[in-house]
Symmetry: C2
Subunit: 200 residues, 2 copies
Amino acid sequence: MTATVDFYFDFSSPYGYFAADRIEPLAAKHGRTVTWRPVLLGAIFKVSGGQPLPSIPLKGPYSLRDIPRSAAYYGLPYRQPTRFPVATLSAVRAYYWAEARDPARAVSLAKAILSGYFQRDCDISDAKAIVAIGEECGFEAAAMEAGIADPEVKERVKRETDAAIARGVFGSPYLIIDGEPFWGMDRFDQADRWLETGGW
Amino acid sequence: MTATVDFYFDFSSPYGYFAADRIEPLAAKHGRTVTWRPVLLGAIFKVSGGQPLPSIPLKGPYSLRDIPRSAAYYGLPYRQPTRFPVATLSAVRAYYWAEARDPARAVSLAKAILSGYFQRDCDISDAKAIVAIGEECGFEAAAMEAGIADPEVKERVKRETDAAIARGVFGSPYLIIDGEPFWGMDRFDQADRWLETGGW
């Protein structure tokens, strides 16, 4: 059994988008697989007291410089979404619905939602936009639409978010590797060393 | 005239301590000098709504793992101070008093205060401890003691903190290079590239 890298992120998080591009190569380098875990940062912030970046004094204006600069640094296309951040409940539900059917294709869906939001300015708060992205990934539109509204899927999303909080997740991206937490795209270097050495 | 790297930090900030070890080589690599600007993060937090790390739910416990792990990653000795964070008013006053007399030696004082706190568990909130560190750096004890209590020095510290807020500084470490802000030890890579390329 391969130990996994647990990868928590919010679909509305630019740093989560950057991390989604790097997480599979990082894990593969060390013979690990990735468990993708989209969460609702808004629900987590109710516990942690966190706030969406743009609304924080001083840090908000800074983030609007840091995000595009970081995208350039990582060599990733980035377009500031018109609405930012947005509610990602439909996106997260679609992900867990898809994961139960086809985990590999669910990862493609997650990446497509992130690039839709951060490259093409799709309104990913809209379930219709998510279903359209799902179709491009090979999911049947009517089935995904029903999945997003399914009470069992809703319950699953709630459980995943609660579990993330219980594990201490408070931001995006957030990795847990053999119990060790790494917050932020800027901790990928430390995660890499941890995976290499098995600790510190 | 050499353009400077403006280096803002709080004496009670572990990440500021890490950055203080790396800032001079980073600037020198690009033919720059460093302007050391200790500030009072507590005063800044009143404007930014920030909080000391240990008191933040989820993020606080995380930071107690991230700090020693980061120290090991950067190859720096680190000992978690018994009291953390502490008030650094005396330390900051001593710095600006010293800077007006001997800027190079003031930098040595800043480094010695940081290593005193993060390596030897000195109580740097105590003016007596600061004066003792100052003596080791070649400053006359009675003169520094008077300097820490000098209303002009107090006013200078207030001006520097207000100026930092006006420039958007909200954390430690925080670099400003030709007007571009970089928050965090983990943005030194981006600052390095910025200095190399003159932008992005």
